[in-house]
């Protein structure tokens, strides 16, 4: 399943980003019931988590095709470049949020940010356990 040229659901990294986007939309919708400030705090926290990760992934795969098909001679330089961009973008977005947004629910903002980082653990763990179950099923056949 492809989302235009931007996201390819076959790739594990893009799958994590898609799940993060859906989670942010869902959480924003839920917190809209508690007020507009809560909703946009959750959304901003989520965007600050998703956008740098997305751009870092794009820089990592730029002109080299999907992450899984990277040539074997690239070493660590694309990783370092993408990490620098991710860190710089995160700091810029945090600064912009704290300087430009006057009313912010900081607890929800950081909760959304930290919660979305946990998706980096949860999705690979779920996929690994599903793979293990499938493998165990094949062994018993």
């Amino acid at each position: 399943m492809h989302f235009g040229p931007f996201l390819n659901i076959e790739s594990q990294v893009d799958r994590i980003i898609v799940i993060q986007i859906f989670t942010v939309i869902l959480a924003t919708g839920i917190f809209l019931m508690f007020g507009v400030v809560a909703a946009y705090s959750v959304m901003l926290g989520g965007l600050i988590c998703i956008l740098p990760g997305y751009f870092a992934a794009r820089v990592l795969v730029a002109k080299k095709g999907p992450l899984e098909n990277l040539p074997t001679d690239v070493g660590l330089s694309p990783v370092i470049r993408s990490e620098l961009i991710k860190f710089g973008l995160s700091v810029a977005l945090f600064l912009a949020t704290f300087l430009l947004v006057e009313r912010l629910n900081t607890l929800l903002f950081f909760a959304a940010f930290i919660g979305l980082q946990l998706i980096y653990i949860v999705v690979p763990a779920i996929e690994a356990s599903a793979l293990r179950r499938r493998y165990a099923g094949k062994q018993s056949d």
Binding site: L70, L76, P124
Partner: protein, 75 residues
């Protein structure tokens, strides 16, 4: 006085986060290169896993930076 303590707290938050993530990323990168040197055919798969693990290790200092920026600019 209070404001200067906030700046010191922000600096300590960023510094400690940077030390921890520096150690973690160094170990990850080293082990990744060791793995690729041993089995070059696994490099694409290892790169994906490295990127996901890096994102996780990165999260801690970025959270620390976020909280310290909040302390410095918003409190």
């Amino acid at each position: 006085m209070e404001q200067s303590l906030i700046y010191i707290a922000g600096g300590i938050l960023m510094g400690l986060g940077a030390i921890g993530s520096g150690l973690g990323i160094g170990m990850l990168g080293g082990k990744y290169l060791e793995g690729v040197a041993r089995q070059p055919e696994l490099q694409p798969m290892l790169m994906t896993q490295l990127f996901i693990a890096l994102a996780l290790v990165d999260a801690v200092p970025i959270i620390a930076v976020g909280i310290s920026l909040y302390l410095i600019f918003a409190v």
